[in-house]
Symmetry: C2
Subunit: 199 residues, 2 copies
């Protein structure tokens, strides 16, 4: 059948084909896009990747996680950038700096992000998982803010507000053509929140 775009790995590359996790992710992404998340079984994903169900669960804790590969790295990127913001920056400005670090990274993955976003939007279970990833990132950012001397509850409120801004900006970003628009959209959403909460 030769799935995953007919990529052929020469048999001389060792006992196993490399990048098992990546192959599983690509297989899952294509199947979720073709048939939908619910109608795809883990056995089918594994088969398309040339592996077995058991191996899938060695790389991913569950069927949803495959769409969130790299989330920890993204979280670390944003958190580090938040921590590294100038000492003069306010909490919200520090968070914005962190989010912009993510914005730069996403610029190279506009198409991928769009496909992934469509799959997630089509399924409530995946939406749940996305929300907890955002929540986890907010908690991590809040930790960075505490490291900057911001007390609770300001730290968690600033971090969570930042994630709200990011989420809205991200949704608008995937819905328009310019891959480099994310930083601008983040700034616009943040300004909107500022206007809304102005007393």
């Amino acid at each position: 059948m030769m799935a995953r775009g007919d990529i052929i790995y020469p048999p001389s590359m060792g006992r196993w084909q490399p990048d098992a996790a990546l192959r599983l992710q690509q297989a899952a992404l294509s199947l979720y896009a073709e048939r939908g998340f619910d109608a795809t079984t883990v056995a089918e994903i594994a088969e398309r990747a040339g592996l077995t169900k058991r191996t899938f669960f060695r790389y991913f804790t569950d069927k949803r996680e495959v769409l969130f590969m790299g989330a920890d790295e993204l979280r670390a990127l944003v958190t580090d950038a938040t921590a590294a913001a100038p000492a003069s920056a306010t909490p919200i400005e520090a968070v914005a700096a962190g989010l912009n670090a993510a914005g730069v990274m996403f610029a190279q993955r506009h198409d991928f992000a769009r496909q992934r976003h469509a799959i997630i939007a089509a399924n409530p279970e995946l939406h749940e998982r996305e929300l907890i990833k955002l929540s986890s990132m907010a908690e991590s950012i809040a930790g960075a803010l505490r490291g900057r001397g911001v007390p609770d509850p300001a730290a968690i409120l600033a971090a969570q507000t930042g994630m709200t801004v990011f989420h809205v900006a991200f949704a608008r970003w995937v819905d328009q053509p310019d891959p480099n628009a994310l930083p601008r959209l983040i700034e616009e959403s943040l300004d909107e929140v500022r206007a809304l909460t102005a007393a």
Copy 2:
């Protein structure tokens, strides 16, 4: 064994004991508290409620939903109160009015909310479900704001910011003794966000 607090329903009450959903919820809550969510099977919940697994899934779509019974009613309450806020209220003020309606309702259920909160906090799957309920409520509130003439993205940002405020305030509320403190905690958290986002 006589579970669920040894409540005895006289056999003269009809063919089936009443309040099946409530009995299932109480059974689930106690088992989740005793053994943890993961270590509890649906068959055990149903048995404690005097029913079967099949009947459990007639009342709840899955094992998590049993902890979120009434969420739709709460959502309607908050949404209606948001829509009914004075026309002079800003978007955030309208959302705050909606959240306070929930605050009043929760005052009578402090103990229940605390136990439920502890169970949810102990399990990531339940945390996921809670987040999507908050997200769903935010979407509903945003709809009410649009009905008040608030355009997007302001509507969704205001609603989501409100849910952030509510979530933080709620966590603080279950962690302190006064059942009537929720409205005050909401107001404090909102003021904190105002201070954070002030340009």
